[in-house]
Amino acid sequence: MLTYIVFLPLVGAAVCMFVPKQLVRGVALLTTVATFLLTLGLIGPFVGAGSADAAGLFDIFGSKYGEKMHFVQRADWIVGDNFTIEYFVGLDGLNMPLVVLTSFVSLLACLASWNFDSWKVNKGAKGYFALFLLLETGMLGTFVALDFFLFYIFWEIMLLPMYFLIGVWGGPRKEYAAIKFFLFTLAGSVLMLVGLVAMYFYSAEAVLQNPALATSYRPDVGVLTTGTFDLIELASNQAIQTYFNAENTYFLAEGIKFAPLMFMFLLIGFAVKLPSFPVHTWLPDAHVEAPTPISMILAGVLLKMGGYGFLRLCYPIFPSGGHAWAYFLAVIGVISILYGALCAMAQTDFKKLVAYSSVSHMGYVLLGVAVMTEAGVQGAMFQMIAHGISSPMCFFLVGVIYDRAHHREINRFGGLWLTMPKYGTMATIGFFASLGLPGMCGFIGELWVLLGVFAARETFDWAVPMAILAAAGVILTAGYILWLIQRVYLGPEKQEYAGYPEANGREMLILVPFAALCVLFGILPKQMLFDYTNGTLNLIVKTMATAPAKFGAMAGM
């Protein structure tokens, strides 16, 4: 099932190359609709997961991280002389919502591309939709891959399509934006490649040193005797965990501890995608230059890969690394929140403002996972999904007005609500959701993260001041969003924009589902998301808490 979902868009992409030009967007839409419907089927096994059984266990998630994966498919892919790289995909509460989100945003982004012919750069529709679908395959694959090598391949497969989508169909500074995006992402992922190689050899060493503990989570394997790329194995095998997180496992030279360094290698790659300060600078450029649907994908899905990577790779495999870097990461998270918000406030370009608001919002994700409490991690997850809904909506709102006005200067707008009342209403919902108004999706995520940070005050004495600073970010967010709404949508109607047509049926078709979800997630957070994810997230937190060694930070932090 997962395999079909992942590769269906690839098939669509191939079909796109061979059908006449007029049919291409139809094929793309059909593919994304089919993919979305298929991913809805993935929710099935998770329904009812919120109610614990008599023993207080959430049976659907198992009692240990990685014990219960759904829709698992595995096959030997590359067989070496003493290792196997597998094609291994599976779902748990961590990636299921993200897979559904991906296909959902892709579908709406495909709809948003429907007016491709009226774009400024409208050559090569075949290429555009084929790359779009290839990108979707890459995104879905990254979320479902449970073998590190497979994960890395999918992670990198996303790069080339994205480069071309921004670089060919983007705005005036597209070349700069595209190569900057590529460079930053690759910079992160090459270090991940070092991690990929190092983790294999260190896991081989681990099971060699301590065969007594090396019982695999897979009954058919029994005791593990070789190194592995299996992400679940790496996180759950006691021998590997003990060796990876030991005080005296060194990398590169005596004294450089393995876990914190590897944690950092992986984290840099994910922090670039997230993006967190100080590696966020590619994001505003990429967003401003990218065409609207690509901005939607970028904000709605690609940024989530960072948060997903933290929770799938960094923390379960190197919990002691998480302890070592907790303060550092929390600081980076808070800086992202505040700095992103302040930058957003200073922008005059509509799209750049939304881009910086993403930096600010994703700061909560980093902060939430950094404190390693249940509420923090749950909040981070919720924030990812909430942002995955509200942010593409905001980008599409910008796109709608840009299609009409052909500029994005905030200060030149005004009174749009009067001109386009339906659009104005949608815009208000979207931006309020982004603001974090209670009752909207953005609120729950931020609140949960803050609660999680407070909850960590026993472990970390810096938790309370950090939470207070992060809470100040909420005020800044309210500031720039309210100011934005005031400048663009409120005020007297301007002559310049008087004749603008109301949002048409296609545009409403995109906006209404987003708006509905914004509200639904805001008022039914448990039924919409927490029930499906918390089981897995709590298990991950439990894994972190039982880290074999919790040593202090490197470099005295």
Partner: protein, 560 residues
């Protein structure tokens, strides 16, 4: 009372079987003769000599494949008396490298037919020289004797000088050839000097025996300065062929000045042969150390030296490429960088007989296969574009995505593969290279060096992104409204074939090339004396515990 006849019997003759082992080389020589003789009978025709060369390359390839069955554990040494064992050798490795070189030769010949056959008058001479250098390269891969190494390098170099200067009306070409000759001559002289020093110390030219002596001396701490100097001289000669920094100065000028077919040829074949030779030397030194009963760590300094030069090569190559506007120069620096990646493997010593013995060599072979494919594809597109636009600048590519999409798309695949991005073959090759480096990190104290090399290799991937993407950017992101054109069918087909192979080897058929490389990199030739040594060496335990079937064949007699 010795009769003349008895004397003759005492002296050594090659047997027919032994000659059969070197049928590929003989076939190359035969092809050269045919190309030279054909014009005398049939009149001059450039195209005909290209055809003969093409057929000759394929025949050589088939003959090489035909030898696979005859090679046993430890390889064979032929065409030399027992005392000079290792002068010319035949093992699986030489066969595969010859196959790669011959396939590449066929590809380059096809490229030449596409681009130059119409206007070239001296086809015969050109192909005699091409095949001559191919002969030298295949000899380079099949020897463990210092003298033969020197001869083979010269045999590969001298024709190369001439084919670089082949376009004699082109000033740049002449200048490049002169630079190449001067540089090559000096390197050869230095190399011979190093060889004479080594011969003076150990009274042998056999590399394994030398490795034995070196290990003893290094362990005892005697003669270290002399050893360091002589090794530098000898390896310098090889690195000249690899074009590793600091022996690379000829490379950009030669690549720019030579015809693009020649550039293609030199960028892969001569480097491939030299890199295989380098790794074989390192391997032989490692065997020698074990034979002398010393630890492989006596060669610590050599590993660091090769590793550091490799890192400098790829870093320098990648940074210098960024400033180039000429595509051929750009790809020249790219080839310096790739040589650097591959040279990193030279820092990994292999313990003979252990399952990992094939690893660095296997990674090198895999890399060479992928590198040959992606370079052939990239150069084919570059050649077609330069013939079409009469310009070799990056700007000639602008708008190619619109003007000739069937050239631009395979070019993207080849360039992304050169960067080392999945899902292309270049990534798989680089990944196996990293694994080979990492595989020894836990066993020896050289671990720091190996992890350092791994980190530098991936950092260089990032640096290289810049300049490869300048071409991609020109092709798709900028457009100067030049007219569309129809590329020649066969050239397009070749480029697309390369791209398809890269995707296939990068995603679907990952195991095929890798298994091939592993199978052919094992059981390297070792003189019989050293084959028995390894079993009772201190590493016998390691040999015995490694659970692979391939090793089983190699060591079954002694270890189990």
């Amino acid at each position: 009372m010795h009769s003349l006849l008895a004397d003759l019997e005492l002296s050594w003759y090659p047997t027919l079987t032994e000659l059969g082992w070197f049928a590929p080389e003989l076939a190359l020589v035969g092809t050269i003769v045919v190309i030279l003789v054909a014009p005398l009978i049939l009149g001059r025709s450039a195209l005909r000599s290209a055809r003969i060369a093409f057929v000759g390359a394929l025949v050589t390839l088939l003959l090489a494949c035909n030898l696979v069955g005859q090679v046993s554990t430890g390889g064979l040494s032929g065409l030399a008396p027992e005392a000079a064992a290792g002068m010319l050798i035949l093992d699986k490795l030489t066969i595969l490298v010859k196959v790669i070189i011959m396939l590449f030769l066929a590809g380059v010949t096809a490229l030449w037919v596409l681009g130059s056959s119409a206007k070239e008058e001296f086809g015969e001479e050109f192909f005699v020289l091409m095949l001559g250098s191919a002969l030298g390269m295949s000899l380079m891969t099949s020897t463990l004797n210092l003298l033969m190494i020197a001869v083979a390098i010269e045999a590969a170099s001298l024709p190369s000088y001439s084919i670089v200067a082949f376009d004699k009306r082109n000033r740049k070409s002449a200048e490049a050839a002169l630079k190449y000759v001067v540089f090559g001559g000096i390197s050869a002289a230095i190399m011979l000097y190093g060889i004479s020093l080594i011969y003076g110390m150990y009274h042998t030219l056999n590399v394994v025996a030398i490795g034995e002596g070196l290990a003893r001396d290094l362990a005892a701490g005697t003669n270290t300065v002399l050893i360091g100097m002589s090794l530098f001289c000898v390896l310098g000669g090889i690195m000249f062929k690899i074009a590793a920094v600091p022996f690379h100065f000829w490379c950009p000028d030669v690549f720019e000045g030579a015809k693009i077919e020649v550039t293609t040829w030199l960028s892969v074949a001569s480097k491939a042969a030299a890199l295989v030779l380098l790794l074989r030397l390192v391997d032989a030194f490692g065997n020698g150390a074990l034979a002398a009963g010393e630890s492989i760590l006596t060669y610590n300094g050599l590993a660091w030296g090769i590793g550091i030069l490799a890192v400098i090569s790829c870093t320098w190559g990648n940074f210098a490429a960024y400033r180039q506007n000429n595509v051929k120069r750009l790809l020249a620096f790219s080839s310096i960088a790739h040589a650097g990646y591959m040279m990193m493997l030279g820092a990994v010593f292999t313990l003979p007989g252990s399952s990992t013995s094939g690893k660095p060599m296997a990674a090198l072979l895999l890399y060479l296969i992928m590198y040959a494919i992606m370079n052939l594809g990239a150069f084919t597109v570059a050649a077609i574009v330069s013939w079409q636009t009469k310009s070799e600048d990056v700007s000639a590519f602008s708008g190619l995505g619109r003007r000739a999409p069937w050239l631009a798309v395979p070019m993207v695949c080849c360039l992304a593969s050169l960067v080392g991005l999945p899902p292309f073959g270049g990534f798989i090759a680089k990944y196996w290279l990293l694994l080979a480096l990492g595989s020894k990190s836990a066993e020896t104290t050289l671990g720091t060096l190996y992890w350092f090399l791994i980190i530098m290799a991936v950092v260089n991937t990032l640096i290289s992104l810049f300049f490869y993407f300048r071409i991609i950017r020109a092709m798709f992101l900028s457009d100067d409204q030049q007219p569309e054109f129809r590329p020649p069918f066969f050239g397009t087909a070749m480029a697309n074939l390369c791209a398809v192979l890269l995707v296939l080897f990068g995603v679907v058929m990952l195991n095929g090339p890798k298994d091939l490389a592993y199978r052919y990199a094992s059981d390297l030739y070792m003189p019989a004396r050293y084959l028995t040594k390894q079993v009772d060496s201190s590493d016998a335990a390691l040999v015995a515990t490694e659970p692979t079937p391939e090793v089983g064949v190699a060591t079954a007699g002694g270890a189990r």
